[in-house]
């Protein structure tokens, strides 16, 4: 790639966009005008905003004690809550409420069940449009100390019941909830005062009911509090605006150019397509970053100004958690803006390159927003923290890292900065590769509209079938498996015995994994046998696969333990494991468990993953990319994060064996052996191990239940296992005619 050409294209595109009123409006004018205008509007509205009073209906007000007074002058006593009492409109029962009182009387006298009283109150509240109702059925007196000594009092189990007061709210209505909070604060204070007066009246020192006094404190300083508040807001703002800022320039630079016919002129110039793609990408990135930065700036200044004004107006300016964001956080944000903008710009540009017109481009970018939003929302969840798992999620990991940086939690950042950067840079690289691919694809650049019909499409698929599956059908198969597994999860019920469990497991494997892959091989390829890799193999390969599974088993067992240590299983997962262990106890024999856990998955999963999916992925160049993609899908199909990681690694070995031997038979044998050993290890018990001198050498247990490989044999076995994998790597089988099988067409420059 020629950098001066990229620079030239970048400068032209930049100038072009700066002359476009729509882009300028979105990038600069909107943030500079919109937020101050919104702020002004907020301040105007705030002037007229008053907290609306709660309508509280009190029935039986006359039954309240004279002291402490709950109601003074038709309002709640301000001693128990000055602000609250001002915001409550107290409505007492009137003389015309005889009918209601008789209803209540009959309800309270006929049964002890308070639900009938609540039902009457609910109906009356709705009729009278009240937010809350207080009903005092009986006269409240200050109780007197019983005339008995302590000994008899302790023996008397039937102490007088506490005075009952009904407080009824409707939690489905916001106004009622607010009323409840206000009234409860007053009633709690009043209740405390009432207790104190009871003690005083009975000549008991009030200090006796003080109990334990909790003194609370907040160690966070003002900067820390502000950083915590900003750390949740700022990353989201820069993410959303960098994505939005990339949209319009990307559409204009690709779909817009196609519409205006200038794209063809540029393509016939000496600039290589990768240079054109990079020049445009840098432009989109610049606008994405500028939009994000200007929005941040404008929103920040407006926000601080408005909050300060509102705060001082309310007399609580000093207590606002948001002030000027710490200077370091701005620096981190600007630094993070580069990879964020690069990622979003590349994805937006690639999507826009596919569009024929600006209008069509907008249709493609909406799904892009829908995909990105959940990734941006995950870090906003209160429980979301930066750990190894979240650091591996693109965008979300970066947002969480940014949050930690703003909160000055540098130790945690240092621990996870490597995976976060690696994942996000890998995503950037993939997105940039996608853009270049789009710019190299004739069908993308000169795509014409076609009439779409299901019939014609099916005919087209059947007509265009190739000997082996395409990458698209391999990915489709993976997605179908994932979706089918997701939905079948809702259909299955908890099995009661091993028979049900075995049947359910096999049906799930057949329905969600085996059938989709076989059907796709039959209908989407001309050579289903070859597509499913149902080829024979040499006996040495089969034997090597079995031996590799045996010798690598300690390593995979250790890996499982390591992953479980990093990501401890959740409570649900442990319960599930326990339930499965219980069910396995009712199995007719070890052979049955091996049949369900080893034989069935080995056959069905290998046919789907190392068969159809890997064959399709092999239309990509190189050996490792197809193996990597297949392993990823294999891992994801296992659902649980811990299992996904383990099966991803095992999938890499299985993929390598499949590619090198061109057959799934060694893979089935490897899978079968690996799963069988896992079953045997989990079912191993003290009697069996102690009776076998060989097993005693290789296995040990600290609790007599869970057996593990002994360290030295495990290392030796792993070395042999790795050597076997190297042997597979060195297999040099006659290469098949790839381009003929996959129908590859060379890309133009």
């Amino acid at each position: 790639m020629n950098w001066p050409t990229i620079k030239l294209i970048f400068r032209r595109e930049l100038r072009d966009q700066l002359r476009d009123r729509r882009t300028l409006f979105t990038v600069a004018i909107m943030p500079m005008l919109l937020y101050p205008l919104m702020g002004m509007a907020m301040m105007q509205v705030a002037q007229f905003m008053r907290e609306s009073p709660s309508r509280v209906w009190i029935v039986g007000e006359e039954k309240l004690p004279a002291s402490p007074p709950l109601i003074v002058g038709g309002k709640f006593n301000p001693t128990f809550g000055t602000a609250e009492s001002q915001l409550i409109e107290l409505i007492g029962s009137t003389a015309g409420d005889g009918h209601f009182e008789s209803l209540i009387k009959s309800a309270t006298s006929s049964s002890d069940d308070s639900s009938s009283v609540e039902e009457i109150l609910r109906q009356e509240m709705q009729k009278r449009k009240m937010d809350l109702a207080i009903f005092i059925p009986n006269q409240i007196h200050i109780p007197e100390r019983p005339e008995s000594n302590l000994e008899t009092a302790s023996q008397d189990s039937t102490s007088p019941p506490a005075t009952q007061v009904f407080v009824l709210t409707d939690s489905a209505i916001d106004k009622s909830r607010i009323a409840s909070e206000r009234v409860n604060r007053i009633l709690n204070q009043w209740s405390k005062e009432f207790s104190k007066e009871t003690l005083v009246a009975n000549e008991i020192p009030t200090s006796m009911i003080q109990g334990v006094v909790f003194t609370t404190g907040d160690v966070a300083n003002k900067t820390g509090k502000q950083a915590a508040a900003w750390s949740k807001i700022l990353p989201f703002i820069i993410m959303i605006w960098s994505l939005t800022g990339a949209f319009y320039p990307a559409i204009d630079l690709c779909a817009g150019e196609k519409e205006r016919g200038t794209f063809e002129t540029l393509l016939s110039s000496p600039a290589a397509r990768s240079e054109i793609a990079f020049g445009k990408l840098l432009t989109v990135m610049t606008f994405s970053m500028a939009t994000s930065f200007l929005n941040l700036l404008s929103m920040g200044f407006t926000g601080i100004f408005v909050l300060t004004k509102l705060g001082s107006g309310m007399g609580a300016g000093g207590n606002l958690p948001i002030g000027i964001p710490p200077l370091a956080s701005i620096g981190w944000l600007l630094l993070a803006l580069i990879p964020i903008s690069a990622l979003f710009s590349a994805v937006a540009l690639a999507a826009a390159a596919f569009a024929r017109s600006s209008k069509e481009g907008q249709y493609y970018l909406v799904p892009l927003l829908m995909i990105s939003m959940p990734l941006m929302m995950i870090p906003m969840l209160p429980a979301a923290e930066l750990d190894f798992g979240t650091s591996l999620i693109p965008v979300s990991g970066l947002m969480l890292l940014l949050r930690s940086l703003i909160e000055a939690n540098y130790t945690n950042c240092l621990k996870f900065v490597a995976p976060v950067c690696a994942i996000n840079l890998a995503c950037c690289w993939l997105a940039v590769r996608w853009v270049i691919h789009q710019f190299n694809s004739e069908t993308v650049l000169f795509r014409a509209s076609e009439r779409f019909g299901i019939g014609a499409w099916i005919k087209h698929i059947m007509r265009e079938r190739r000997s082996l599956p395409s990458l698209g059908s391999a990915i489709l198969c993976g997605v179908v498996i994932l979706v089918a597994k997701f939905f079948i999860g809702f259909a299955v019920t908890a099995p009661q015995n091993f028979g049900q469990f075995a049947l359910q497991t096999v049906i799930i494997l057949v329905a969600t994994i085996f059938i989709p892959s076989v059907l796709m091989a039959l209908f989407l390829t001309r050579n289903p046998r070859k597509s499913l890799r149902l080829n024979g193999c040499k006996i040495t390969m089969a034997a090597a696969a079995i031996l590799a599974a045996i010798f690598l088993n300690p390593m995979f067992t250790w890996l499982t333990g390591f992953i479980m240590h990093i990501y401890p299983p959740s409570g649900d997962m442990l319960m599930l494991q326990e339930a499965v262990s219980r069910i396995l106890g009712s199995a007719p024999g070890l052979w049955a468990i091996i049949l369900v856990f080893a034989v069935a998955p080995a056959i069905f999963e290998e046919i789907a993953f190392r068969g159809f999916i890997l064959s399709g992925c092999q239309s990509m160049k190189g050996k490792w990319k197809p193996i990597l993609l297949t392993s990823l899908m294999f891992g994801l199909a296992h659902g649980v994060i811990q299992q996904t990681m383990i099966t991803f690694v095992i999938g890499l070995v299985l993929g390598l064996i499949a590619v090198q031997t061109k057959s799934i038979l060694p893979c089935i044998l490897f899978h079968l052996t690996h799963n069988s050993l896992a079953v045997l290890l989990s079912q191993a018990n003290r009697t069996v191990v102690e009776q076998s001198p060989v097993l005693r050498q290789y296995l040990y247990s600290t609790d007599g239940q869970n057996y593990q490989y002994a360290t030295f044999p495990a290392i030796l076995m792993s070395v042999v296992g790795v050597m076997l994998i190297i042997w597979f790597l060195q297999l040099d089988l006659k290469p098949s005619n790839r381009s003929e099988a996959y129908g590859r067409v060379p890309h133009p420059n």
């Binding site: 050409t5 016919g261 063809e264």
Partner: protein
């Protein structure tokens, strides 16, 4: 200068499976010669010219432009050609001066040589008045002038005009044709596609009449007139196309399949 052999281009099409835009065309165009590609809409002219300008890749066959193969040496080919399309294809938000300078720089021309060349071309095409005018403010004729200057800025030995007079008024169209003639006289190899017979008769040294991706007749206008005993170029074109359509129709009826007229890649 341009040697095209058995050039084919097929596209995948959901409706018909495969659409053949070019079914193996061959021709040669020499320096100091205007080679005309004639044909109705969808004949394959634009596809052939897009392959010559390396925007598209051929499915089969070869095309050599000034000694460079379009498939193997696309970058070198692009340095040999200037491409002028029917839709002017100039950037609306640039002035004519900026636009020509941009393309000159893309061709790697040093700024001093580029500016002197630009001054000469702007003088020659009487464009000095519009050098600082945004292209969006220009008339179609002015835009086409800018487009031609843009294609000529790096002094390419081959110029490709794809229906370059389409949509222009008679005065501008004549000016464009005059420019094309001048370029031919300078020894440039020019490929000129059109469906306006009078232009072809006036300009072209050799002509290929195309329909549905094949060349129906090829040669000098005089040769074609003598061979088909028809002096009127328009009439000759009409007869050849009608005959070709009738033949395709009879083949279609015999095979029972409808012909695919739509070109998925023709804008």
């Amino acid at each position: 200068m341009i040697h095209v052999r058995n050039l084919q281009k097929t596209y995948k099409d959901i409706q018909s499976g495969q659409f053949t835009a070019l079914a193996g065309i061959s021709f040669d165009a020499m320096p100091g010669q205007i080679y005309g590609l004639l044909g109705p809409n969808g004949a394959g002219k634009t596809t052939a010219l897009r392959i010559l300008s390396t925007v598209l890749q051929p499915s089969e066959g070869s095309a050599i432009v000034n000694g460079f193969n379009v498939t193997e040496q696309p970058e070198q080919v692009r340095r040999q050609i200037g491409f002028v399309s029917c839709n002017t294809a100039i950037y609306d938000r640039m002035t004519s001066w900026e636009l020509v300078q941009y393309f000159g720089q893309l061709y790697g021309m040093p700024l001093d040589r580029l500016h002197s060349k630009m001054n000469a071309l702007f003088d020659r095409f009487q464009m000095n008045e519009i050098r600082d005018v945004l292209c969006s403010k220009m008339s179609t004729g002015m835009k086409q002038k800018v487009s031609i200057v843009r294609a000529m800025i790096h002094n390419p030995p081959v110029l490709i005009f794809d229906e370059a007079t389409s949509g222009l008024d008679i005065l501008v169209a004549r000016e464009v044709l005059k420019t094309v003639e001048q370029l031919r006289d300078q020894g440039k190899c020019i490929v000129f596609s059109s469906h306006i017979m009078s232009e072809v008769k006036r300009l072209c040294d050799r002509v290929a009449i195309m329909n549905r991706g094949v060349i129906l007749a090829e040669g000098t206008p005089t040769y074609l007139a003598e061979k088909h005993q028809e002096n009127d170029m328009e009439e000759l074109f009409y007869q050849l196309i009608s005959r070709s359509e009738a033949q395709l129709e009879s083949e279609k009826n015999a095979a029972g399949a409808p012909p695919n007229l739509a070109s998925p890649l023709t804008n």
